[in-house]
């Protein structure tokens, strides 16, 4: 039974009822309703509980400003928290619940807090829960629970979202009267126009108004202009689309809700779309939000904004009460009383704070015999879960004090209006400072710093005719600035039934018979329970900056960003500080205008599309062999190849032994490869590597370290001389992109005179590494045009030839310490050659291995992995690799001077060493800290940490690489690694080379 629903009228479909539930109870609304209008139609008073005191709260507004009716929609993976019921379109089967209130909104245990609210002043949490500091986490848990914000979904989102990057000439934000005519004017000039509005249909304030435009009902005029816009091919219309952020260089983000209004269903297509718009010009026609009046118990359900009451009546055919009392400081709100009267319910009285209001609407009210109290204010409302009565009193001329007897008037609905606040949020995003206007009694947008202009109520222009004129002019000017039209408005504002109005009275706090500090709560910010007394207290406690007061009292900190409370709060603060509002200034609004879902922001960049995945040409073969994968940068690399029933440890041991005893093969295609050419290529290499390249002959390879200017290692790899003035540089897999940019940086900025060119060749080649004592025998079977003998093809040589009938470059370089051939073939032949090599290796039981075995084998040899054994603070000397640093190079290579800094010469720098645990089976965790004495008190004196650690099947004991202060001179010393589980593992410092220190095995 929709007790508050009119039988006809409004923009709802009376023939189409919709079922929904709220807090577990079933209700019926109509198509065209919002959740809020449907709840009001059903007479639901309490929709939430307040943040701090747990007070019952009802619906106040009808749009983005709503502070109380904050709901959680749906459940499971698709639940959305913190939506404003006033912006949720009703659909069949909608399920919503309040985000606050426990165990329920009708009976909230937290309301006990309200009884003690004198003990909960602003800053209460800061003052009370600061000590002891370590208990804060415990306090915070309960505070958050009590605070009752919505809950985020815990399951993965099943809906899809997408993203559209767009350009336009003129973006119009807001499709109220000013926005609509602005869009039409811009469209006429031929400019590409986007017009976006957060509501389900265009029209803005006209949707809830009873006024006339051009001698026709506003609804008819609206239908006509929307139809006109439809006919422009150069206009994109975006209803249900919130422009939530205005960023640099006229970049705006719009979230379009495509299916939310149809109900939450995974089958319903793209749920939301993010439009990323680069606009040449922007028109902000975002309208204004009505300001509530601040009086005692102004938060009791049944106290609403006057314009919201009118909107519920006119747009939704809902009368949210029976006996209306209107409290206003301006003429505009009279319309609400007139609408209410015409809808057939009682207007108890209109209370106007001004002494002698006049104007046309005043006359209409008089004609309707509506009781008017001039120079009065509602000083207190009576009732707990619903307004029962209002107490009014005569006010002084300036509205600051009570000058006579109070009077109690029975009513169940108090509509209030303290004037309007322009929606300046988006203009604030651009960085401009809002300006206070005494005439508007509100902040208006500051001087534009981007290509934008505001029009209509958004800049404090009220009255339909003036808004239309201003909107049209803004549209034409924006188009002209974007290079379209002549800026001349082809439009005369139609005559709207504009009533003459008297100026409004600035009234930010209605006095009470008791002083503010003793009066019943006069709420300024409903969502976070900030009262007038709280703000005055903050001022008394010495807070002067508005930003500090905001943080101290939480004014404007809610999900509504203080859309209702900010101006009243600033005014109360200013008065307490004895200064003007302009002097106090305002806090700055930041994106998002209303909360935006993560889904819309992430779009399709989720799961496997979050980052590209790169595969080598042998990828499918590895997959068929059951490889487990390791992510290395964007690459998928085989981690290890388990046989059925094998654990990772067993598989890695088997793979390691196969390489040491016979032969293994590794897909090394992912190594970065940069082709370097030019007559100065050798000179360039000589400058970026620590060692010399001028004498590197064709057919030869050299290992090098690359340093940053501070002398720290940042990449390593082998470079081969392919021919005169032609080199191929190998980089680490993860470092490839960074190294290329580094080379380009030095060439382009410091040494542009060098004739050298760089080309990334990583993806051009597939690489099969054949390594182990039998490597030569395997390769011989598929390669007959290269002399593979040890004398003809030496370690650190490379040869051109044919492998498995494919032209190949074969490199004799080794990352395992064994005899190794790295066979490089054009990438599209990679799998063919790989399979032929595998086939050829069968008689030697050739074993494919992955990155884990590669790591163990290289660690046995003490070969570093840049980024694992180094961390940007290791010099070549720290790594015991001084041999790579050229002592007699003419040019001061990158990092040379850095190495000479005093700090790089210290003897107690962390140096790379090996560690052998005293218990050969214990494998230290990587990252374990190293101390001398594990029984010393905390915090212990750290000596270094473990960088790499494995079990070596070949050596029969665990091995670790570590960096230890002055480690090179501490070989033989026993150190300790205290672990998180309480154990402390003793280990001996040894050489970082555990296996074949002379390097004999790779030279055979």
């Amino acid at each position: 039974m929709q007790i508050n629903r009119l039988a006809s009228g409004g923009r709802v479909n009376h023939a189409k009822p919709l079922n929904f539930s709220f807090n577990g109870k079933r209700y019926q609304g109509l198509e065209g309703d919002t959740l809020a209008s449907a709840l009001l139609a059903n007479g639901v008073n309490v929709v939430g509980r307040s943040f701090k005191y747990g007070r019952p709260r009802g619906i106040v507004g009808h749009g983005a400003e709503e502070p109380n009716a904050i709901v959680q929609l749906g459940s499971g993976a698709q639940t959305i928290p913190n939506l404003r019921a006033t912006q949720v379109e009703l659909y069949e089967g909608l399920e919503a619940r309040s985000v606050s209130g426990w165990p329920s909104v009708d009976y909230d245990l937290m309301s006990v807090m309200g009884v003690f609210k004198r003990m909960l002043p602003p800053g209460f949490y800061y003052k009370t829960f600061m000590r002891p500091q370590k208990l804060w986490m415990t306090y915070e848990h309960f505070i958050r629970k009590a605070a009752g914000l919505g809950s985020a979904p815990v399951e993965a989102d099943v809906d899809s979202y997408d993203r559209l990057n767009q350009h336009c000439d003129v973006l119009v934000v807001g499709a109220g009267p000013a926005g609509l005519v602005a869009a039409r004017e811009a469209a006429r000039s031929g400019a590409r126009v986007i017009i976006a509005d957060e509501q389900s249909e265009f029209g803005g304030s006209l949707l809830g108004a009873s006024s006339h435009v051009d001698q026709q009902p506003a609804a008819d005029w609206l239908a006509q202009i929307v139809q006109e816009l439809n006919e422009f091919a150069n206009v994109q219309r975006l209803p249900r689309s919130t422009v939530f952020g205005y960023y640099d260089h006229n970049f705006l983000a719009i979230v379009e809700r495509r299916t939310d209004h149809l109900g939450i269903s995974a089958e319903s297509g793209t749920r939301q779309r993010l439009h990323r718009v680069r606009a040449r010009q922007v028109v902000l026609a975002t309208g204004a939000i009505e300001r509530p009046l601040v009086f005692a118990h102004n938060d009791v359900p049944g106290v609403m904004l006057a314009s919201s009451v009118a909107t519920y009546v006119n747009r939704y055919a809902v009368l949210p009460g029976n006996k209306l009392l209107l409290f206003t400081s301006n003429d505009d709100a009279y319309q609400t009383a007139i609408n209410w009267h015409k809808a057939g319910r009682e207007v108890v009285a209109v209370v106007d704070s001004r002494m002698a209001p006049g104007g046309d609407l005043n006359q209409i009210m008089a004609d309707l015999n509506i009781q008017l109290y001039c120079g009065h204010g509602v000083i207190e409302v009576v009732g707990k879960k619903r307004v029962k009565a209002a107490v009014i009193a005569p006010l002084s001329v300036d509205g600051s004090s009570i000058i006579g007897q109070t009077l109690r008037l029975d009513c169940d609905l108090v509509a209030c209006s303290g004037g309007w606040s322009p929606v300046i949020h988006l203009s604030s995003h651009t960085g401009t400072r809002p300006q206070w206007s005494d005439q508007v009694v509100g902040f208006v947008p500051g001087e534009s710093v981007q290509q934008e202009r505001s029009a209509g109520a958004a800049r404090g222009t009220y009255g339909l005719t003036r808004c239309l004129e201003e909107g049209a002019a803004a549209g034409a000017k924006a188009a002209l600035a974007a290079g379209f039209g002549d800026g001349v408005v082809e439009f005369t504002a139609p005559g709207a039934d504009e009533a003459s109005q008297e100026p409004q009275q600035p009234l930010f706090l209605v006095p009470h018979s008791k002083p503010t500090s003793r009066a019943p709560s006069q709420f300024v910010d409903f969502q976070l329970d900030v009262t007038a007394a709280g703000i005055e207290l903050a001022a008394r406690e010495g807070y002067e900056s508005v930003e500090h007061v905001k943080r101290y009292t939480a004014l404007g900190f809610g999900t509504d960003q203080g859309k209702l409370g900010n101006i009243n709060g600033l005014a109360i603060l200013s008065k307490a500080l004895g200064q003007t509002i302009a002097e106090t200034g305002t806090t700055i609004f930041r994106p998002s205008y209303t909360p935006t879902t993560f889904g819309a922001i992430a779009g399709r960049d989720v799961q496997s599309l979050f980052d590209p995945e790169r595969y080598t040409s042998m990828h499918r073969w590895h997959e068929q062999q059951g490889a487990h994968w390791e992510d290395v940068g964007q690459w998928k690399r085989p981690w290890y190849f388990p046989k059925p029933g094998e654990s990772m440890h067993e598989a890695v041991n088997r793979e390691c032994l196969a390489v040491r005893n016979s032969v293994g093969m590794l897909d090394a295609s992912t190594l970065g490869k940069i082709d370097i050419q030019g007559s100065d290529a050798a000179e360039f290499l000589n400058r970026v590597y620590t060692n010399g390249y001028l004498k590197l002959a064709a057919g030869k390879c050299r290992y090098g370290l690359m340093l940053k200017e501070d002398g720290m290692v940042f990449d390593d790899g082998v470079t081969a001389c392919l021919a005169e003035n032609h080199y191929l540089m190998f980089t680490t897999t993860g470092g490839a992109a960074g190294v290329l940019s580094w080379l380009e940086l030095w060439h382009q900025t410091e040494w542009p005179e060098l004739n050298v060119f760089f080309t990334s060749a990583t993806d051009h080649w597939a690489t099969a590494t054949i390594t182990g004592p039998n490597a030569r025998k395997v390769l011989e079977k598929v390669c007959d045009d290269i002399d593979l003998s040890a004398d003809a093809f030496k370690f650190m040589d490379w040869r051109d030839g044919t492998v498995a009938d494919v032209a190949a470059r074969v490199f004799r370089i080794s990352f395992t310490g064994e005899l190794t051939f790295e066979v490089n073939v054009p990438a599209h032949h990679g799998r063919h050659v790989w399979e032929k090599l595998y086939e050829a290796g069968q008689e030697f039981d050739i074993t494919p291995y992955g990155t884990e075995t590669m790591h163990v084998l290289r660690a046995e040899k003490g070969f570093i992995i840049v980024g694992q054994d180094t961390d940007g603070s290791m010099t070549p000397q720290d790594l015991n690799m001084g041999w790579v640093v050229g002592k007699n190079k003419d040019f001061s290579f990158i990092g040379h001077r850095g190495l000479n800094r005093e700090d790089c010469q210290r003897e107690d720098r962390k140096q790379l060493v090996g560690l052998k645990t005293l218990d050969p089976k214990t494998v230290l965790p990587e990252g374990a800290q190293i101390v001398v004495d594990p029984s010393q008190p905390l915090p212990m004196a750290m000596q270094g940490h473990v960088t790499s650690s494995y079990y070596s099947a070949h050596l029969g004991h665990s091995i670790a690489l570590a960096v230890v202060k002055g480690g090179h001179k501490r070989i033989g010393e026993t150190i300790h690694c205290p672990l998180a589980d309480g154990r402390s593992v003793p280990a001996e410092i040894v050489s970082s080379v555990f296996y074949d220190p002379q390097g004999d095995r790779q030279n055979v």
């Binding site: 640099d248 260089h249 960085g431 401009t432 400072r433 710093v449 930003e547 940019s741 001061s892």
Partner: protein, 106 residues
């Protein structure tokens, strides 16, 4: 999200195509080995971090791969000029006037 003009491609493109590459016009000492620790330290570590006009390098990393110089206002994020490596901005003193008092630290 900035829009940046690439002086090589001669096009204004989205920030996503570019990579920031630090302060511009820092000269490497011509003989590093002869530089004092102080000179080398200044070259290596000290950067201006101004509030207002900043000369910086960007690379058109998803485009032509060229590095170039940009003058950007660090307060307003306005990009005032892009110019190739090895050249000077067209009218350097004029930019000083665009340092605005807007956008105080918030």
């Amino acid at each position: 999200m900035l829009q940046i003009y690439c002086p090589y491609c001669k096009q204004t493109r989205e920030e996503e195509e570019f990579s920031y590459a630090g302060e511009a016009h820092i000269k490497r000492p011509s003989d590093p080995q002869a530089a004092s620790d102080k000179e080398w330290g200044d070259y290596l570590f000290f950067r201006k971090n101004p509030r207002g006009i900043h000369h910086e390098m960007w690379q058109h990393s998803a485009g032509c791969r060229r590095y170039f110089n940009v003058i950007r206002n660090t307060v307003t994020y306005e990009v005032l000029e892009s110019y190739p490596m090895g050249t000077s901005p067209s009218e350097q003193p004029a930019h000083a006037a665009t340092i605005s008092t807007a956008g105080e630290l918030q």
